[in-house]
Amino acid sequence: MTRQWLWIGVCLLGVSPALAQEQKIGAPPEASNMKLVGWNDLQARSAYQPTIHKQGDRYIAYIGHHGGTDDVPTPVNPLTGKPENNGTSIVDVTDPGHPKYLHHIPGAAGTYEAGGAQMVRVCDGAQLPKGDKSAVYMLRTFGGEAHEIWNVADPANPKLLARLDGLKDTHKSWWECDTGIAFLVSGAPDWRTRRMTQIYDLSDPVHPVKIRDFGLPGQQPGATGQVPTELHGPISTGPEGNRVYFGYGTNKGGIVQIVDRKKLLEGPKEPTPENLRAPELGRLLMSAWNGAHTTFPMLKMPIAEFANDKEGRTRDIVMIVDEAILNECGEPRQMIWFADVTIESRPTIISTWTVPEASGQFCERGGRFGSHSSNESMAPVFYKKVAFIAWFNAGVRAIDVRDPYHPKEIGYFIPAITDKTDKRCIKVDGKDRCKVAIQTNNVETDDRGYVYIVDRANTGMHILELEGAARQVAGLK
C-alpha cells in the first residue's frame, strides 16, 4: 500500500509541473542576475509604455496606460479620490527604492486598447530648437483619437498645451528632442490603414507644423488592391544617422523598412506610390507568422569574430521584436530577431532568440507568452551591450547583444503577482478558463542603469537592477 501511494505521488509530480509553475499570490519573484529595487502599483492600471526622463536633478517616470478592464473600467485615483479613465501615470523615481506617485492624467474613455493613453515621449524645452527653455514637454496619445502635448515642468501639475485630433488610431510614436521632428503613428481618416506615419515639426510644441503623411505604397488614400501591413512604430537615428527604421506589424506579416530621413523630410510630400517609395533604402519582409513591433537600431557594432576581416568588421544591426497577442501560446512563437542591415538594400536575419518555453512551462501559466518590446533608451550604460526584452508571463529578459550573431541571456526577473493582477482567459470547450499571471508588457532603462518594467495585467511598475556577472557585461561596478 505504501509503495502504491509512493508511485501515485511520483506520477502526480510527473504530470503536474505546469500546475506547479502557475503563479500564486505571496510567492516570491523568480530571478536570475536581476533584483528588485523598488515598486509602485500605478493605481492598478494596465500599463504600456514607460519613459524615464531626467528633469534637473530628478528622474521622472511617465507611464502610458491602456484603458481599464471590464471589471474596473475607471480605477479610483487615490490622489483625487475620483474614478478616472486610465491615462498617464507620473512617478518620481529619483530614489528608485521609494518611487513616489505624483500625478495621473486621465486618458480616453474605453476599456483595454480602446481607451487610455498608451504612448508617451518627453523632451526638454531647453533641447528643442524653438521650445520654451523652462518647459518640459510630454507627447502622449489620447486613446486612438488624438496626440497631445503637455508641459510637465512641474510633473505634479501638468498643463495641456496642444492637441492633434480627428484620428482613427494612434500608437508608438518617436520624437527627436534635438530637432523636434516627430514621427506620429496615426490613423489619418482617409488612409486605408489604421496606422501610418504623420510627420510633424514639433520644435515649437505649442505650434505643431505638419510635414507630410507617410506609409507603404498601397496604404495611401485612393489606392486599390492589397493593403500592406499596418505600422507599429518608427525609431529615428536623427540627422546624424539619417535613418528611420519603421516596424510594421505586431504578430503577423512583419516588415522592416529602412528609410533615408533627409529624403523623407525634404522629398515630395504628396502621398503617391512614387513619393512613398522614394525615401526607402531597403526592406526586410518577415515571415507571415511574425510582426515587427519594435525595430531598435544598433549601428556600427564591432563584431569580435570579424575583427581580422578586411571588410565588414563592424555591422549595422537592427533588433526586431515581435509582439505576442494571444494567450497561452495560441499563435506561432513571437520572439526577437537580429538583422544585419549593413547592406541596406539586402537586410538579412542573422540570429534569433527566445525564452525556452520548458524553462518555466510558460504556455501553461496563463496569459501571453512571447516577446513584446525592448528598452528604447540609447544611453551608453546599456546601448549595444545589454538589451532588455519584455516577455509577458516570462517577465523581463536581459540579453547580452555584444555579439548579435550569438545573443545570449544573462539574467531575468519575473515579478510576483498581487491581488490586483488581472486574470487572462482562453476558451476551453466554449467556456472561459482563466489564470492569473504576470504580463510584463514594456521595459525602459535610465542612464543610471536601472530597469523599469510595467505590467499589462495591472501589477504596476517594478524597478530593477542587474547583479552578479550580468553587471560586468554592461561594465557596471
Binding site: G225, Q226, K252, I325, D429
Partner: protein
C-alpha cells in the same frame, strides 16, 4: 537477394498503398456533403490557397460561385467597434488571396451574419485570366474576425444573398464556432 516474384508482389502492394493514399487524399478534397450542403446545393471543395499567417479555412462551390471562409483570431483592428470601414474589409477579407490587385466596385455596406455585424464590399478581380466579381465579407466577435470572400456573379443580389444565407447555415456555423471556442 529477393526473388523476382517477391519484387513484383512488393511493387503491387506498394502501388495499392499509393492508390489508397491517393484515393484518401481525393476523398478529403471532396468531402461528403452534409445535410445543409445537400439542401442548399453548396459542395465542399479544397482550400486552394498557400499557407499564410492564418490557418487554412474552408471552401464551397455552387454553380458558378465559390466561397472561402475562415476565422482570424485576434485580428480585429478595434475590438470595441468591429468592422466599420471599407478599408478594413479591403485589409482583412482575403480578397487579396484571389487577386492582390483587386479593385473595389462600390462602397461597402453593413451586414449581419447570424448575430455578428460587419461589412461587405464588391470587388473586380482577375482570376484564371479573366475578369470576375468578388465580394469580401468581414464580421467581428470581440477581437476575432470571421472573414469570407465569394467569387462569382455577385452583382446578382440573389447570388449575393445565397452566399450570406449559406454562411448562416449549420454547415458553416458549427465549424466556425468550434474554431472560435477552442482558440
Amino acid at each position: 537477394m529477393l526473388s523476382r516474384r517477391t519484387l513484383v508482389h512488393a511493387s503491387l502492394a506498394g502501388g495499392m498503398v499509393a492508390a489508397l493514399a491517393a484515393f484518401a487524399a481525393f476523398a478529403a478534397w471532396f468531402p461528403k456533403p452534409d445535410r445543409d450542403e445537400e439542401a442548399t446545393g453548396w459542395r465542399r471543395i479544397g482550400w486552394p490557397f498557400p499557407r499564410d499567417a492564418f490557418p487554412a479555412g474552408r471552401a464551397w462551390r455552387r454553380d458558378r460561385t465559390e466561397v472561402y471562409v475562415r476565422p482570424k483570431i485576434g485580428f480585429c483592428a478595434n475590438c470595441a467597434t468591429g468592422v466599420v470601414e471599407d478599408s478594413e474589409v479591403d485589409r482583412v477579407s482575403d480578397v487579396d488571396l484571389l487577386d492582390p490587385d483587386f479593385v473595389p466596385v462600390a462602397e461597402g455596406r453593413r451586414i449581419r451574419i447570424t448575430d455578428l455585424l460587419g461589412r461587405a464590399r464588391l470587388y473586380r478581380i482577375r482570376k484564371g485570366g479573366r475578369e470576375r466579381l468578388a465580394q469580401g465579407l468581414a464580421v467581428s466577435l470581440n477581437c476575432d474576425l470571421i472573414v469570407a470572400v465569394a467569387v462569382g456573379p455577385l452583382d446578382d443580389e440573389a447570388v449575393a444573398g445565397s452566399v450570406r444565407h449559406f454562411l448562416e447555415t449549420n454547415t458553416v456555423q458549427v465549424w466556425l464556432n468550434a474554431q472560435l471556442e477552442n482558440k
